[in-house]
Every structure is written in structure tokens, then in C-alpha cells.
């Protein structure tokens, strides 16, 4: 999947299928503390992170999920890349600083469609809590998606 993302031209639509990890404000903070004391919790190398906080309905078969604003996560981009991120998905612009970090490391940034929670919810085939269950919607979830649409920005 990573190869397909990296080779997609900028400003093009693409559909993602495979494993992605959700993360957002609080879980970024928690993860930064976590890796000070423990090893990289992610086993894979080509990681895709999705800045999002799902509704609890996935346990009931009717969950929704959608992107949150990526610019708030820029301070954590380098940490995510050091843990193996090859693509980040969120909403909106990441600013000059965010773009610089991504370009230096050859990491892609994709913009998903804000507020299309039900649409994205239907693309989720499997979801499990990966880290920080105490954070509820802000926990890190490992999800399997199929036909998840986005626009490649960088």
C-alpha cells in the first residue's frame, strides 16, 4: 500500500486498503511519554497514521470515523516518522514546518474528507484498541480499511 501512496501524484484521489493506526492530540502526547521509557510499540515498518477519533459504535457495527485537523499534530511528526511512519492522513494544511519535515523524510501526507464520518465508518472492516484504551476516542486504534478515499497532498 505504501508504494501505491508514494507513487500517486500530488492532488490525485486514491483509495487506501490495509492497516492504519489512528492517533490524535492526547495519544500523541501519551506516545511521546511512552517511548521515553519503552520500546517502539509498532511492529511494522511502513506505518500509516490517521489523525482521527472514532465513535464507540464499531463494537455495535455502526461506527463513524473521520479526520481531525493535522496541523495540531505537526509537533509530533518527527516522532511518528522515527517510529516508522511512511504516510500520514488527516485534514487540512500542515504548514511550512510540517511540509519540510515530510519532504526531508520522504513521507506522504494525505487529506481525508472532513466530517464524512459515516462514509469512512463503512470502509472500516476491523478495529482493535492498540494503545491507551483509557483515552476513549483518543486512544490509538489499529484498523483495517478497504476503499478509504483521500487526496494525496505531498
Amino acid at each position: 500500500m505504501i508504494d501505491k501512496i508514494l507513487s500517486t501524484p500530488e492532488n490525485e484521489f486514491l483509495e487506501i486498503s490495509g492497516t492504519i493506526f489512528t492517533i490524535r492530540d492526547q495519544s500523541c502526547k501519551f506516545l511521546a511519554e511512552y517511548i521515553k521509557k519503552k520500546k517502539n510499540p509498532f511492529k511494522d515498518e511502513n506505518l500509516i497514521f490517521f489523525f482521527a477519533g472514532p465513535t464507540p459504535g464499531f463494537e455495535n457495527g455502526n461506527g463513524s470515523i473521520g479526520p481531525t485537523t493535522s496541523s495540531r499534530m505537526v509537533p509530533f511528526f518527527e516522532m511518528l516518522i522515527s517510529l516508522g511512519a511512511k504516510a500520514l492522513i488527516g485534514k487540512g494544511d500542515v504548514g511550512i514546518k510540517g511540509k519540510d519535515i515530510l519532504e526531508k523524510s520522504n513521507v506522504s501526507y494525505l487529506s481525508a474528507f472532513g466530517g464524512a464520518g459515516a462514509y469512512y465508518g463503512k470502509t472500516v472492516e476491523k478495529m482493535e484498541t492498540f494503545l491507551f484504551p483509557e483515552l476513549g476516542p483518543e486512544a490509538i486504534y489499529k484498523i483495517e480499511v478497504s476503499g478509504f478515499p483521500a487526496i494525496k497532498i505531498y
Partner: protein
């Protein structure tokens, strides 16, 4: 007119669940128009499909299930049997709806401590006592993204409609894609510092417009916006604009612009409607 508090709580709970999935405010609405092509058409199709999937699979329209706001118009002769106040009843409805409907709980108890209240309460309630004996309650579920890009300003009377329209334009331009456009914009002019924002939400909730002249100037200026659906290139940054004018002080001209994302989630309960009794 009198209602049992449990009856009302259940009605409002159902209204919240319906508003989260298939809101009255978007019945029959489509994001597609005949001038759209390419990428913008594709985005509009995603948003139309979002409405369809939410309805068909009973999923929340947006993962941000919002802050709950109630606008209550309670007739002076309307009464409840039982001792609970209206705010207590409405908060019970919120709590049960967010739990039973698997809606995301997004409220934190303190702006600095940021600990989740875990039931999406408190709701914010605006009460108005009216003549007569009916009860009407509007519920609005509003996400954080579009609330964060709303704005207000204490303008001067001399700035007039042109000045207000410029402020609306600047607010929406600055918002860009951050608040998930196409936006539904509620504009209020007048009132006081504290009330103007509430009036702007009222304009949005009731989809009312009482100043065609301002609306025309605003719509004309908005043609210069350089983004479309969700902030990408396109021609559809604003779905609709509602204007409310309010009496104010001789020295003042407060203005508020409330932006709502494409998921406009508003529902209405009223004892004037037979099914709500």
C-alpha cells in the same frame, strides 16, 4: 398543556439520535449541483453518500457528535408534572442518547484539565418564555471544527451592511477548509456582546433571513472566495446564509458569524405537532 418529564426526556433522546444520523435540517439536501465537474463533483458525491450511508446504516453523520445545544421556547402556561427542571430533563436525554446511540462523547469538564465527562453533558440551554401554552425545543449538535472558526466583533454603526459583509467574508476566508465547508452561516447583527452569538445560532437553527439587502451583499462578496468543498479547489464554499437583525444600543453594532460544517444537525420538537404530545 402539560407533559410528563419522562415522556419529554424520551422524545428528546429520540430527537438527538435522529439528528445525529438523519437530521431534519438536511432532509432532501444534496451537495451536488449542475455546475460541478471533476474533483469537486467527486467530493460532493462523497458528502451525498455520507448522508445516505448514515441513514441506511444508522451511523452518526460525523464522528464528532458535537456539543448539544437546546433553544427552548416555553409557553407561560406550559407545565411539567413532577419536580425536575427542564435542564435536568434535557441533560438526562443527552446522557442516554450518547450512551445508547454509541455517539462520541466530546465534552471535557474543565478547559485546562481536559478530562472527559464521559456522557457528553452538559448541554447548553437557551430558554425563552413565550405567550401561550406550547413547548418548542430545537436541538443542535455542533462539531468543534466549525465552532472554532466562527467569530464575533463589536463593529461601529457607521460600518453598515458593507462593513458587516466584509467581516463575514474575512471570517469565511480565514476559516478556509478548517471547519469542513460547504458552510451554513448564521449571521446576527445587533443585540449585545453576550447575545449576538446566540442570535446568530437562532438564525441558523430556524433557517431564517430578515435582511435581504445584507444577504445579497454577502453572497456577492462570497463569490471571491478561492476554495470549494472541504477547502479544496472548487466553487461551493458556502451552502447557505441566514441573517438575523436585532435591536441594539445607539453606540453599538455587535456582529456574530456562526459557521456550521456540511453536517448541519438540527431537529425540532414541538407540542404544536400532534406526534410530539
Amino acid at each position: 398543556m402539560s407533559l410528563h418529564p419522562l415522556f419529554l426526556k424520551n422524545k428528546i433522546k429520540e430527537l438527538i439520535l435522529e439528528t445525529s444520523v438523519n437530521p431534519q435540517s438536511l432532509h432532501g439536501f444534496s451537495f451536488i449541483n449542475s455546475s460541478m465537474t471533476g474533483k469537486e463533483l467527486k467530493l460532493a458525491e462523497v458528502l451525498d453518500n455520507n448522508l445516505k450511508i448514515a441513514k441506511e446504516t444508522n451511523r452518526p453523520l460525523c464522528q464528532d457528535c458535537g456539543t448539544v445545544q437546546f433553544f427552548v421556547e416555553k409557553g407561560v402556561h406550559f407545565t411539567f408534572s413532577g419536580g425536575a427542571g427542564l435542564e435536568t430533563i434535557l441533560n438526562s436525554a443527552v446522557k442516554e442518547a450518547y450512551e445508547e446511540g454509541f455517539l462520541r462523547k466530546s465534552m471535557v469538564i474543565h478547559p485546562f484539565e481536559r478530562k472527559n465527562t464521559c456522557d457528553n453533558t452538559p448541554a447548553f440551554v437557551h430558554m425563552k418564555e413565550t405567550d401561550g401554552a406550547e413547548l418548542t425545543i430545537y436541538v443542535m449538535l455542533k462539531g468543534g471544527g466549525s465552532e472554532n472558526v466562527s467569530n464575533m466583533k463589536m463593529m461601529t454603526p457607521a460600518e453598515g451592511r458593507e462593513g458587516v459583509a466584509d467581516f463575514v467574508f474575512e471570517t469565511i476566508k480565514k476559516a478556509g477548509g478548517k471547519g469542513c465547508p460547504p458552510y451554513f452561516a448564521g449571521i446576527a447583527v445587533g443585540g449585545t456582546f453576550d447575545t449576538v452569538g446566540t442570535f446568530a445560532k437562532e438564525a441558523l437553527i430556524k433557517k431564517e433571513n430578515d435582511d435581504d439587502e445584507l444577504k445579497t451583499i454577502v453572497l456577492d462578496k462570497l463569490k471571491d472566495l478561492d476554495f470549494g468543498i472541504l477547502g479544496f479547489d472548487g466553487s461551493f464554499p458556502v451552502a447557505d446564509v441566514y441573517v438575523k437583525t436585532v435591536p441594539t444600543h445607539i453606540a453599538m453594532m455587535p456582529v456574530a458569524v456562526v459557521l456550521n460544517c456540511h453536517s448541519l444537525r438540527i431537529g425540532k420538537f414541538s407540542t404544536e405537532n400532534k406526534n410530539d404530545r
